[in-house]
């Protein structure tokens, strides 16, 4: 009798253990995922087009059904949720979606499906792996997701510190938080010179005055690298339109590019050098030769 009990007990334990391995940390519902994430932890939402998209189906098969090793390694360390997204869903499909998401809409920030979105415990999308060049290559996708998750954790640590800090250090921390360009930070809007009045103010300034204004702004304010590039773009634009000295333009765009050549405004600066600065320099050189 005891043997039978022991056998059943062993089977049950085995099932539990195997089940926990198979399930990994997959949440069944959105609410469940939010609960598991709590205040500080992220969770991953894999969204795929379940009835309209071959690319999604392929991604689902690769990453979820067949459990790509690299991705599974990343997912097993966090909570994740698989969300089937339906196009013009029928009743059955609506129920299927509701079973996972309840009455939640797909959160904003998902620009493309399939994707691995990283969400915080409040359901905000903070970052996502959704570009084709990443998703087509499981190794790249898993690395990108792992980086997002690591950055998320680092950012959360900084946020914790931020709560306990004041003054100059607080500004520095804010800048550091916003320096994770692949992660959005709800409630922390980036400084945008076109929306924050910098561009308007520059319009009526002479170049020396504008230079002083921008340098003071950059010295006193707290800016992430991207914000710094944007402020410099605003100033450089003003110098260009005011036919300012070409040396100043080169210096500005070079500095802007060197902050991060791969970022959007790094690329912008590189393009500006080629498009606007080099022709002016050639023109100046030709004039010098003539003289």
């Amino acid at each position: 009798m005891n043997g039978i009990r022991l056998f059943f007990c062993a089977c049950a334990t085995l099932l539990i253990l195997v089940g926990s391995v198979v399930q990994g940390s997959q949440a069944r519902t959105f609410e469940d995922a939010l609960r598991r994430a709590g205040q500080d932890k992220p969770f991953v939402m894999f969204c795929y087009g379940a009835n309209y998209d071959d690319v999604s189906i392929k991604a689902y098969e690769t990453y979820i059904k067949k459990r790509d090793k690299n991705m599974y390694h990343v997912l097993s360390k966090t909570t994740y949720l698989v969300v089937p997204v339906y196009q013009q869903p029928n009743e059955k499909e609506k129920r299927e979606y509701e079973r996972v998401m309840g009455d939640h809409q797909l959160p904003g920030g998902v620009n493309s499906i399939p994707c691995f979105a990283v969400l915080d415990g409040e359901g905000n999308v903070r970052g996502a792996v959704q570009a084709r060049e990443e998703l087509d290559d499981p190794e790249k996708a898993s690395k990108a997701l792992a980086k997002l998750l690591d950055d998320f954790n680092e950012q959360q640590k900084l946020l914790k510190k931020l709560e306990r800090t004041n003054g100059k250090r607080k500004e520095e921390l804010q800048r550091e938080i916003l320096s994770y360009t692949d992660l959005k930070m709800p409630g922390h809007e980036s400084f945008d010179p076109s929306q924050n009045g910098v561009v308007q103010k520059l319009q009526v300034m002479e170049i020396p005055e504008a230079n002083a204004y921008i340098r003071t702004l950059l010295a006193n304010g707290s800016f992430s690298p991207v914000e710094r590039q944007m402020v410099m773009a605003a100033f450089a634009g003003h110098v260009r339109r005011s036919n300012g000295p070409v040396e100043m333009l080169r210096a500005l765009y070079t500095e802007m590019r060197n902050i991060d050549p791969t970022s959007t405004y790094g690329i912008y600066a590189e393009g500006a050098l080629e498009l606007w600065v080099e022709p002016l320099e050639k023109e100046a050189a030709a004039t010098d030769t003539e003289h």
Binding site: C9, D53, V55, G237, G271
Partner: protein, 904 residues
């Protein structure tokens, strides 16, 4: 307890052992997966390499073909294009409502040219969209042979109900036959192939003879419908139509082109493909379209039998030919959709699109920026969404009028620095740098188009929006206004309702196909000078599918040519439009009447009562806006144009106002139209206009009383008056602005605020109270409904007018008359931010402005501008602010103080 612990321990040990034994199995499984993946990726790599190599080869072949074509067709192609352009010009002139006398003169000329080649076809083709290029250069017609006793130039009487009823029975049988064919086989005997196509002229003659012989001497509509029920006969008609539309010269060129004969062989043996090519939208420049198709299939010959590839190729080729876009762009577009389809990267919706829908996708309008292969491929891979998701995709862009560097979106500098770095991907550049409504809407629409979903951008007053087809419904994205001008059209009419009409028309596939084929037969009959049969065919075509806009146009054009003075026919046509189209598609019916029917019919109808009765019949169909809100002005203008004397005009207005002012949807627009018409008359006729305006004012006053002001209708009255007062402000019509404002106060008193402002004014009277005010904000529908509050802004209790200060836009007031200004008081609904300076400018004419240099004081939400030092006199005053930043909020009171300058 201990025993339980022991049991658990044993269980754990057992599970570990199980895991130990299972592990190698798992490893083996993983290894197997790895091997399989490696094989799959290898095969994928090979396939990709092969595809790339093929694309390279295609590119090289295309360049060769282009160079070759340029050598061979230099001269020929140019002259052909010129011919097409001439034809288009002819149609555009018709759009501008060419005068009847011009057409009569044209008819006479045709009569004289009766013996010339194709004389009978040339004229009415100008109005025919169904058969757009019947200029069959090279086909010689024997006039004598085409004389058909009892048929030629005989305009039959209007069909009576018995005949139409008999036609209806025949049409039901025809529909049944078409459904049967659709389910059954589509391939027919490849009777016409190879050598036949080398001489399309001979082939045309053979086919023409066969069609005429089978139809007999005096074909009636019923006989023709019965004839079309047989697939072979439909094929014959389709081939005749194909040759007529493509033109002999283009077909001859095609037969010498690589892959040309193969294409024609395959096309002529497949009735379904032939039908899809000919009857899924307009086929202008079909000859060029077929040459495009041959170019595609010469490079993708193994796919000529693949249904989807055929669909992509046919629609891309015909649309690019129709739009006059280059073969290089055409091949790029085809390659994009072809490779995306083959790689399974398009939305599933694309797989089941019909030809007409696919034309909207593959024929999307931007070849080099948003619609370039690079930009579309990027959107396809990075903006993948379910169809509904594209309606919100515009939100992925940051709205920036000026980019962070301060360059305007309307300048080339906005994106220039990043384009190279982003590989000229327009969508990516805008997503990173930003854009305004145009870029946001293109991003949304082209996201859908890149995935193979029908979508298009559309213009709205001062705005750009877009629409995406979700299911069978066109849904609007980023839209703020009811008026849309579609950027992709089949029939060169840009109104929203025509898109809905196209959707409904082609969804109702069988009747549309019957109608198209009957219209094709009508055109053929007309070309053979069998006028009677042609009329009967047109009649039956409309009966089969009253939504077929191009058939209405073709019939109207034909009627205009053959029986311009036949009042009975024109009246019958007008009545049929009202009975069939006007029921649901008010705008479509109104456009047809206003552009094509009234200009021909009204001159034949001198009795004003008869005319007014016809107009009233139309309005009775319009209880609400129907499919969507539409602009009733062109219809009213066309009707009004038929009135010659002042008495007739007043009588007409009385009729219109008495009917439409009782309909909540129409009361505002008709009032606005009336006001504009009278103000125009006033300008044109001077003192007489004043008298007329006085008469009209009485009419308006009595008509306004008809505007329902019950609780239920207050909203629609408020909206109607709001729209009218907005128009009056835009026109700078102070008289009307004030009249409507006062009326609104009477009718909808509760909607006005009862503020009691406290502020310090200036000496003199308020010279703005009897003026008008307008804002630089592009108002949406809801905003326009509230426009009566703008009038209240000038009154003592205040109102609300939204503000936007951007460049030269701000708040503009037209004063009662020229005045010496002492000062301005502007009351805002929130404390005024003083971060950017304000300016008050003044003008005598509303065009040339000068800064008044008034002294500005800001105190909370009150702004006072003292202008006593400046000694300014002006008729217009405007408030501006430096910079382009968006300001939200309202001005609730605006008062200009001064002294009216007496006229010397």
């Amino acid at each position: 307890m201990t025993s339980n612990l022991c049991k658990l321990l044993v269980a754990v040990v057992l599970s570990i052992m199980a895991g130990f034994f299972c592990y190698p199995l798992g490893e083996k499984f993983l290894v197997a997966i790895k091997v399989r993946d490696a094989l799959v990726s290898k095969s994928q790599r090979e396939a990709e390499e092969a595809r790339q190599a093929r694309l390279r080869e295609i590119e090289a072949q295309r360049k060769l073909a282009e160079a070759d074509a340029a050598k061979r067709h230099r001269g020929i192609v140019i002259s052909d294009d010129t011919a097409n352009n001439d034809w288009e010009k002819g149609f555009e002139e018709e759009d501008e409502s060419t005068s009847t006398t011009e057409h009569v003169a044209q008819d006479d000329a045709i009569g004289d040219e009766g013996s010339s080649e194709n004389g009978a076809e040339l004229d009415f083709s100008s109005y025919m969209l169904v058969d757009c290029d019947p200029d069959l250069v090279g086909i010689t017609e024997d006039k004598e042979a085409n004389e058909v006793p009892g048929q030629t130039d005989v305009v039959p009487k209007v069909m009576d109900s018995k005949v139409r009823s008999a036609n209806s029975t025949a049409l039901r049988k025809f529909a049944h036959a078409l459904e049967k064919t659709a389910k059954g086989t589509r391939q027919l005997n490849a009777e016409f192939k190879d050598d036949s196509w080398k001489s399309p002229q001979e082939l045309y003659k053979t086919l023409e003879q066969r069609v005429l012989t089978k139809l007999g001497e005096k074909p009636t509509a019923q006989k023709i419908i019965e004839y079309l029920s047989a697939p072979e006969n439909r094929r014959d008609l389709a081939l005749v139509t194909l040759i007529r539309r493509a033109g002999i010269q283009d077909l001859e060129e095609l037969s010498t082109q690589r892959g040309g004969i193969a294409l024609l062989n395959a096309l002529s043996a497949d009735l379904q493909w032939l039908t899809d090519t000919l009857y899924s939208g307009p086929t202008d420049k079909l000859g060029k379209g077929l040459q495009n198709m041959a170019l595609i299939f010469s490079q993708f010959s193994e796919d000529i039998n693949d249904e989807t590839t055929r669909r992509i190729a046919t629609t891309t080729a015909t649309e690019f030919a129709r739009e006059g876009w280059s073969q290089k762009d055409m091949l790029d577009r085809f390659t994009y959709y072809y490779s995306s389809y083959k790689e399974g990267r398009l939305n599933k919706i694309f797989d089941s699109l019909a030809y007409w829908e696919t034309r909207l996708v593959t024929g999307n309008r931007e070849c080099h920026s948003w619609g370039s292969p690079a930009s579309m491929a990027w959107q396809r891979d990075n903006v993948r969404l379910p169809v509904e998701g594209y309606l919100g995709a515009s939100g992925q862009l940051v709205y920036r009028l000026r980019n962070v560097a301060g360059d305007s979106v309307f300048s080339g500098e906005y994106l220039a620095p990043v384009m190279k770095g982003f590989n000229n991907i327009t969508a990516l550049a805008h997503r990173e740098i930003g854009g305004v409504c145009g870029a946001c809407s293109h991003y949304g629409a082209y996201g859908a188009l890149a995935a193979g979903i029908p979508a298009m951008t559309m213009g709205e007053p001062g705005h750009c929006a877009y629409t995406v087809r979700v299911g069978d419904e066109w849904k609007k994205g980023y839209s703020i206004y009811w008026q849309h001008s579609m950027h992709k059209t089949f029939w060169n009419v840009h109104d929203w309702e025509f898109l809905i009409l196209a959707q409904d028309l082609y969804t109702d596939a069988i009747p549309t196909l019957m109608s198209d084929q009957l219209a094709a037969m009508a055109t053929f009959m007309a070309s053979k000078r069998m006028t009677k049969a042609a009329f009967q065919c047109f009649d039956a075509a409309i009966q089969a599918q009253p939504l077929n806009w191009p058939v209405w146009l073709a019939y109207t054009g034909f009627l205009k040519q053959k029986a311009p003075q036949d009042k009975e026919r024109w009246t019958d046509l007008c009545t049929r439009v009202v009975d069939t189209l006007a029921e649901k598609y008010h705008n479509v019916a109104a456009t047809l009447q206003a552009r094509y029917v009234y200009p021909n019919m009204l001159p034949l109808m001198p009795d004003k009562k008869e005319r007014n009765k016809i107009f009233a019949a139309f309005f009775k169909k319009c209880n609400d806006f129907g499919v969507s809100r539409w602009d009733i002005t062109p219809l009213l203008n066309a009707q009004f144009a038929g009135c010659k004397t002042e008495a007739e005009k007043l009588d007409y207005m009385k009729t219109v106002l008495s009917i439409l002012m009782t309909k909540p949807d129409y009361s505002g627009p008709v009032l606005t139209w009336g006001l504009e018409t009278v103000s125009k008359l006033n300008e044109e006729t001077g003192k007489d206009g004043d008298r007329f305006q006085a008469e009209f004012s009485k009419l308006i006053t009595s008509a306004m009383k008809r505007m329902r002001s019950s609780k239920k209708d207050t909203d629609s009255t408020w909206a109607g008056l709001g729209e009218a007062i907005y128009t009056a402000a835009t026109n700078g019509d102070n008289f009307t602005f004030q009249a409507i404002g006062k009326l609104a106060l009477q009718k909808c008193k509760k909607n006005f605020p009862k503020n009691r402002f406290k502020f310090r004014g200036f000496p003199g009277r308020i010279v703005s109270a009897k003026g008008s005010i307008r804002t630089g904000v592009t108002l949406d529908d809801e905003g326009i409904k509230q426009s009566c509050l703008h009038w209240a802004v000038l009154q003592k209790n205040g109102g609300a007018i939204p503000i936007k200060f951007e460049g030269n836009t701000g708040i503009t007031v037209k004063l009662e008359s020229n005045s010496d200004l002492n000062g301005v008081v502007a009351l805002f609904d929130c404390p005024i931010k003083n971060d950017r300076p304000f300016h008050i400018e003044a003008s005598e004419d509303g065009q040339n402005w000068e800064d008044t240099e008034g002294k500005i004081e800001i105190n909370g939400s009150i702004m006072r501008v003292d202008m006593r030092q400046a000694r300014t006199s002006a008729r217009y005053v405007r408030l501006l602010r430096e910079g382009d930043k968006w300001d939200s909020g309202n001005i609730v009171g605006f008062y200009v103080y001064g002294k009216l300058i007496k006229k010397s």
